[in-house]
């Protein structure tokens, strides 16, 4: 691999200038490719480097402490509330977005009139193009006032589930609202990946099911789902990665509390990314370092989620019957 450029350059004329041209161009493109690896490594290295000082001076437990006071004396901070908010909001967003996203993909590929399909795909892509700050604005100004009635109803009738119980009778900036906005934001990701794998389902499989007298839904269950399942799972994982790292929409919607509150519709909640954005400009040097430390946790969290998703896709393509 060390010198693929020279072995590959099997051009009939092997003049010195030709080989030099290939070596320069091939080398250039190789270094461009290497920048990807360098950047990924550098992100990890620099975040670790800047995170260490605050972790050394932290007197609380980084993983269980429910407060954030890194610039205080003594410095105390921990990611417990951040991890709770991030994981819970992303999990709810997944619960909402994955079934809907797969439904959209099914609709576009198998249910909608073929002439409409391209336009519908365009609409879901459009959803992906809306910047997160606009979703945050919308959540703050439209969704929060608009959903108070529904949340009150949920608290009255579903309060026994505890998570929907609202003891404060306040329906504002909560993890629940953040989850809904996150769900809308990851919908295009889930839908796009699912759409791609559903498109790859061999026509023969679908036609065979229909020829045996299956209804359309039975065809979906017997021919489409088994083939597309790994792709759908990885689409969901990619959506999860996006939800975990989403910053601005969540920062606008959550009211940045540092306690773990199981009542999801009550104001409060915080996530890794939102906390960094909100605390950044008021942080001292140790505060910045502590925020970098929480960012490092977020980085490795999304990294592992994305790696698993990509691994599932890669494994799938090797055994794919479609090609």
């Amino acid at each position: 691999m060390a010198d693929a450029t020279t072995t590959d350059a099997a051009s009939p004329i092997s003049g010195a200038s030709v080989r030099r041209g290939d070596r320069i161009f091939g080398g250039l493109s190789k270094y461009a490719g290497l920048t990807v690896l360098v950047i990924m490594a550098a992100i990890a290295v620099f975040l670790v480097w800047r995170a260490i000082p605050s972790l050394m001076t932290n007197t609380g437990n980084f993983f269980t402490e429910q407060s954030w006071n890194p610039d205080g004396d003594p410095s105390v901070f921990g990611i417990a509330a951040l991890a709770f908010g991030t994981l819970v909001s992303s999990a709810i967003a997944m619960l909402l977005a994955v079934p809907v996203g797969i439904g959209i993909a099914l609709f576009i590929v198998l249910y909608a009139p073929p002439r409409l399909a391209a336009a519908l795909a365009f609409i879901t892509d459009l959803l992906a193009a809306v910047p997160s700050i606009i979703f945050g604005l919308w959540g703050l100004e439209v969704l929060i006032p608009g959903s108070a009635g529904v949340q009150r109803w949920m608290s009255d009738y579903l309060g026994w589930t505890v998570i929907f119980e609202n003891t404060l009778e306040l329906y504002g900036k909560s993890i629940f609202i953040a989850s809904i906005v996150l769900a809308i934001m990851i919908l295009p990701t889930v839908a796009a990946v699912s759409r791609e794998v559903i498109l790859q389902v061999p026509a023969g499989h679908k036609e065979a099911a229909l020829a045996l007298g299956a209804t359309r839904w039975e065809m979906v269950r017997m021919a489409v789902f088994p083939f597309a399942k790994p792709g759908m799972i990885s689409g969901a994982m990619l959506g999860l990665g996006r939800a975990l790292g989403e910053t601005i929409a969540v920062a606008l919607i959550l009211s940045a509390a540092f306690t773990i509150n199981i009542h999801l519709t009550e104001p409060g909640g915080n996530t890794f990314a939102a906390n960094i954005a909100l605390k950044w400009n008021e942080a001292g040097s140790n505060g910045l370092s502590a925020l970098v430390a929480s960012g490092l946790v977020l980085f490795f969290l999304t990294l592992s989620v994305n790696m698993v998703a990509r691994w599932i896709i890669a494994r799938r393509s090797e055994f794919s019957g479609a090609n």
Binding site: T5, V36, F46, L106, I133, E141, G213, A277, R310
Partner: protein, 351 residues
Amino acid sequence: MTTTVDTSTRTPSSLTGGTLPRWAPALVGTVAVVSAVALNRVTGLAGGFATTIVAALIFVVLQSVWSFAVEGKRHAVDRLATTVVYSTFFIAVVPLISVLFTVLAKGLKVMSWGFLVNSMRNVSPRSPGGGAGHAIVGTLEQVALAAAFAIPVGILAAIFLVEYGRGRLARAISFFVDVMTGVPSIVAGLFIFTAFVLGLGMERSGFAAALALAILMLPVIIRTTEEMLRIVPNELREASYALGVPKWRTVLKVVLPTSLAGIVTGAMLAVARVAGETAPLLLTTFLTQSYNNNPFAGPQAALPTFIWDQITSGTSASVDRAWAGALVLITLIMIFYIVAKLLANRFAPKG
């Protein structure tokens, strides 16, 4: 299966089982909506949202019962699934329409030529007026700088993956390009801050923001370019080799021009994606209320950070400005996006 066999033997003139008439969903739908609205009027149940849910429930129950009675269980399940699949799409369209409508309605309130060219200099958050001109300039400059970094590197890296790369290194790069797509934007901002601002002592500026945006653009450009290069038929490359053209000239003169339109589309989509990024800008630039046309020195505004600043100011005048800023931003992104789609449709390689 048994139900179909039974019904077909019962009516020997037809080989098909009992089916609902074509207008059945429309009829059931009308009944559902009318009864839900009536229920809403009678019981005084609050809200259009609850009425919609009730209507949907009535529709599902009525259709399932009717279909089960006439067509049997399998078709009833099929109709239920169809209803669910159709409704997921409307669930997705509702927020999109709501977002676009709100941005348009609230954004037009203070939209004017003055908003596009004025800055917020000497305008207090409470008073109306002012504009996002300085932020528009900042966004265009930062995105252009980011594109200037990410596009050449991205295209070269894609060329490596498609034309030169073999073996473990190429596979590793390809894998990490995918993983890099998932790097949260705030982590890109953190990285630029720690590496360039703390590490190299660079000041927080539009340029630092552009670097963070470039990191977010890079994997998108590599991926789309790679896809476009792979579509170029091998016959073209072989014809070029057969004429004695060296590989690097083949790539530059044959492969790249063939796939240029697709590469441009990918670049535009990447630009559209990063133009709305807020988080990395918050970390890598300081906000300013005045024009600063130099991205390399001093604080520089951008549309996303302008919106963030106005919304967090929280006065009614500043929230109005935030919505107008959102309208400008979304218009800008839509322009990029639609141009990209038009290019893709116009020049897409056939076959």
